[in-house]
């Protein structure tokens, strides 16, 4: 067992982990942050995306030990302390960008990473960026629309609410 310490959503967090403990397991099982989901075992679905030192990573494909000393942010840290949703979360609700909610944490975290690098992405850029996030409910229509809306673009011309 190795001791790991990191900052998660601005708060210090630490624990004893095995070499094989994944960051996703550490977040879910040791810290109780079950908002990060695990939807596959081949590093493709993206339900587990979190930010490590400001970059989107798949927490199911990173060892907890690799995150020692890192700044980690998860879906639980996205809303304001009073519960007010951030712009991306709010856009997902406004535009029905989620149904069952399982892929949603990863979608929101990926969207946040995209908008940080590219504040006004085109439709094609949004779709390309979401290559590593699979949603089975929405057909992506309202997810793409929500992300474009969160970036401040007018999405009223995009068919159907």
């Amino acid at each position: 067992m190795t001791k790991v310490s990191m900052t998660v959503n601005g708060k210090p967090a630490s624990g004893e982990v095995e070499g094989r403990t994944l960051l996703s397991s550490f977040l879910r099982e040791d810290l109780g942050l079950t908002g990060t989901h695990v939807g596959c075992d081949t590093s493709q679905c993206g339900a587990c995306v979190v930010h490590v030192n400001g970059k989107a990573v798949k927490s199911c494909t990173m060892l907890a030990a690799e995150a020692d000393g890192a700044e980690v942010s998860t879906i639980e840290g996205q809303a304001a302390p009073d519960g007010t949703l951030n712009a991306i979360q709010q856009a997902f609700q406004d535009h029905h960008g989620l149904q069952c909610g399982f892929c949603t944490p990863g979608m929101v975290m990926s969207a946040a990473a995209l908008l940080k690098d590219n504040p006004k992405p085109t439709e094609a850029e949004v779709r390309a960026y979401l290559e590593g996030n699979i949603c089975r409910c929405t057909g992506y229509h309202n997810i793409v629309k929500a992300i474009m809306a969160a970036s401040g673009q007018d999405v009223s011309a995009i068919a159907a609410e």
Partner: protein, 263 residues
């Protein structure tokens, strides 16, 4: 996953020492190794992370015009930092996996693994790159030795890769729709002394140079030069995503497109 000991050295020397342990394995970004270990298809007793080694990070230009990339440099970093000097390489890096994978996966990890459908082997072979290890330098032509097989010795680490920068280059990747690896990928690079064409995703022997196309393109760097050339389907991979014949056909199409895009 089977359990293992984890070590994260800060220098190449410490990493080499750590890898001296029996069944120790180097961990790059882990984007292939960790999923493989989840399936219990690999059981190292120790993983030596290379992500904490500062001297293996980053992209820099050399005096001879070539580009050196640290072995632990992520695809995202290559995509960003190689864009000015070697746009075709940066573009290739920007289409590996997905954004989150590109933030972890490394060039050294990809080349050490030598997946037959990976993109970087096409760039390295197509550019005539030099694989730099803790022990020696290996020409790309000598480095790739078949599926998941390379010239690396046990415990040898790719500390960097040196890319000569061609006059023109382009990579065309045709997606395998599930994995998003290359069903076929073709890297074309035009140098003053000739053209190199490297093909990934297609062959049963892994990445290879298509010498007929290289000769034709060295004589005339135009898409039409490839007309009538055909890779022998017999040596191609055939699977549920593409037959041998289809892969052989795509090599021709993508080579032309790469030439057109590079011209």
């Amino acid at each position: 996953m089977y359990n293992f000991e984890f070590e994260k050295p800060a220098t190449i020397a410490d990493a080499v020492a750590a890898l001296g342990a029996e069944d120790a394995q180097a961990l790059g970004g882990g984007q292939t190794l960790l999923p493989t270990m989840k399936q219990r298809l690999a059981m190292p007793t120790k993983l030596v992370s290379l992500s904490g080694i500062g001297e293996m990070q980053g992209v820099c230009s050399n005096n001879d015009g070539s580009l050196s990339i640290g072995g632990a440099t992520t695809h995202a970093t290559v995509a960003a930092e190689a864009a000015a000097q070697y746009p075709a390489l940066a573009d290739l890096a920007s289409h590996i996996g997905d954004p989150a994978v590109r933030n972890r996966g490394t060039i050294g990890g990809s080349l050490a693994n030598n997946d037959p459908a990976a993109c970087y082997p096409a760039a390295a072979l197509g550019s005539g790159a030099t694989i730099v290890t803790n022990a020696r330098e290996i020409a790309a032509d000598d480095y790739f030795q078949g599926l998941f097989t390379t010239a690396l010795e046990e415990g040898e680490i790719i500390t960097g890769v040196r890319f000569p920068v061609p006059e023109a280059a382009n990579y065309q990747k045709f997606l395998q729709p599930a994995s998003r690896f290359a069903l076929v990928g073709v890297f074309v690079a035009k140098f003053a002394d000739g053209v190199r064409v490297a093909v990934t995703g297609a062959s049963e022997d892994g990445v290879f140079r298509w010498s007929e196309a290289e000769q034709a393109l060295s004589a005339s760097f135009s898409p039409e030069a490839v007309n009538g050339l055909q890779v022998d389907p017999a040596n191609m991979m055939g699977d549920i995503h593409g037959t041998k014949e289809y892969r052989a056909h795509l090599i021709g199409v993508l080579t032309k497109r790469a030439v057109a895009a590079a011209s």
